[in-house]
Amino acid sequence: MRLIEAKYLSLIRISFKRVNEFKFDFLMRYLEIPMYLIIVYFLWKLIFRFSGKTELGGMEFSRFFVYMVLARFIFISFPFTETSEEIEEIIKSGQLTAIITRPVTFQKYVFFKLNFNTLVDGLLSIGLFLLMSFVMGWYILDDLVYWLLFGASFVLAICLNYFFYFSIGLLSFWADEIFGITQAVRSIRMFFSGELIPLTMFPSTLLTVASLLPFKYMLFNPVYLYLKKYPVPEALHQLGLQLIWTVFFMIFSKILYQKGLAWYNSYGG
């Protein structure tokens, strides 16, 4: 059996054609990075200087900076609230009726049509990040075991993000609008995923709360693994938790979809 069926390959081709059609736009996405780098560099440099410490959140400035940059690179390429919004559009507009009559699985259809390029984007982002690290002399991970752990965590994080936002999108079966939900999740995720500030800078109680939520595994874990901050047994433990959350949201989204489909009705063509 082929890894990806031909019908999904066509969707991937379409998604690539869409990227190709607007090449300029695709390339320009990475232009925000220098702006981000400037902000992060000067802000945290100042915070480090004022703190009088060599380490914050268990990282010295050079690693801390790499953390912030890599988190941004990964963040740009991961599935985000757009996935939920697209699903909402499909359900609300009645396009779902056409999709369910086709010989495709809805989860796969949405992923290959709308989100497959995030995987390519992600790989491209990592490539670009490594190139920048090499040119600028930043820290580069030099351990094969950790590269494997990072790779696994990276792919799991993409899947977790996808299934998470997919599940939120499916709430459109019941909710009249999900804009409020996506925006609320966006804020909470920004804080608890370590995008705004590394979770290791949190007070201990808040860090415990963050560990109990899925957001940590959406961004913080792959970045922290890249920085080799977890010992191997802890890294495996964290990967296990990440896998559990991914499987949880995969199953949860399937259940939601089945329940939602029973609820769904559409009139007209």
Binding site: I38, I39, F42, D176, G180, F191, F202
Partner: protein
Amino acid sequence: MPEKIMEINPEKSTLTDRGAENTSTANLHGSDRRVEGISRSVRQVTEKSPWDRTGKLAYALKHLRLFYRFAVISWKRSTEYKFNFFLNNIQQIVTLFIYIYFWRIILNHIPQLQEWDFPTLTILTGFVFFNQSLMVVFWAMWTINRRIIKGDLDVFLVRPVSVLFAIIGQNLLIYRLFEASLGLAMIGVVLIRYHISVTLFKMVLALLIVFLGTYLIMMVTIFLQSLSFWLGRTNAFTELLQAGFLINRYPITIFPKLVIAFFTVFLPVIFIATYPTLVLVEFTVIRGLEVLGGELLIAGLWTYLVYQIWRRGIRRYENVGG
């Protein structure tokens, strides 16, 4: 009934005037005094103000009335789904809490960030929120590029209203003004809690700077969105702009001079939160007025640029089919 004519069609004022002159001539030949009175009133009406002559005032009033209607519709639409409305407001409180807590975490590690301590950073966050809310109220400006590509402007072009106004006004999110009040409330709480005394004039000045700052960012956004007339999809510019907004959350004066200059002229986010906070708690009134003057100059420049690009772009716009 010359006044009536003016009311209906202000552009025809010259013709009406000429007609009045003829009537006056008739009067010279011995017609009754009433005609002379009418001719005088015609002259008075036609010489009232340039606004009336060109009909710009009527045009502006029409847009104001429309804006009010759009706002009412927007409010009704957003409160239609009660649960979503409730969640939106909760989300705003959560986000505000997160932003403030972010500073709390940072200040657990350092006493203060240059001259910025916790109260001033919270005031800054309040202004960020205030501006953010206004930007979301007019969120449709972020969709201009998509509408250009899809050819959705046709429907607006056939209406007797400004195209930009129609795009933005029709999709107002007026309920997000709650967030603005939340930001202002936060500023008020900090001023009281930390006994920071400010004059009413400074408050007004700070608010003026924020409003103008929001207008400036809108101008930059519309400028970048309008590039779609030439470049097609320009989402990247939007993302670039949003990346620039990231700096808005931090006090921009802590950055090097070159960065400050960039975020003052090219992407003027410094007027959104940093300057209003400084004007409120640190600057003298004179310094505040200087900031406002500078902002007005930059706003004028960006308005001119937007006017030019939009005018040229709309001429270039084409769409086949409905």
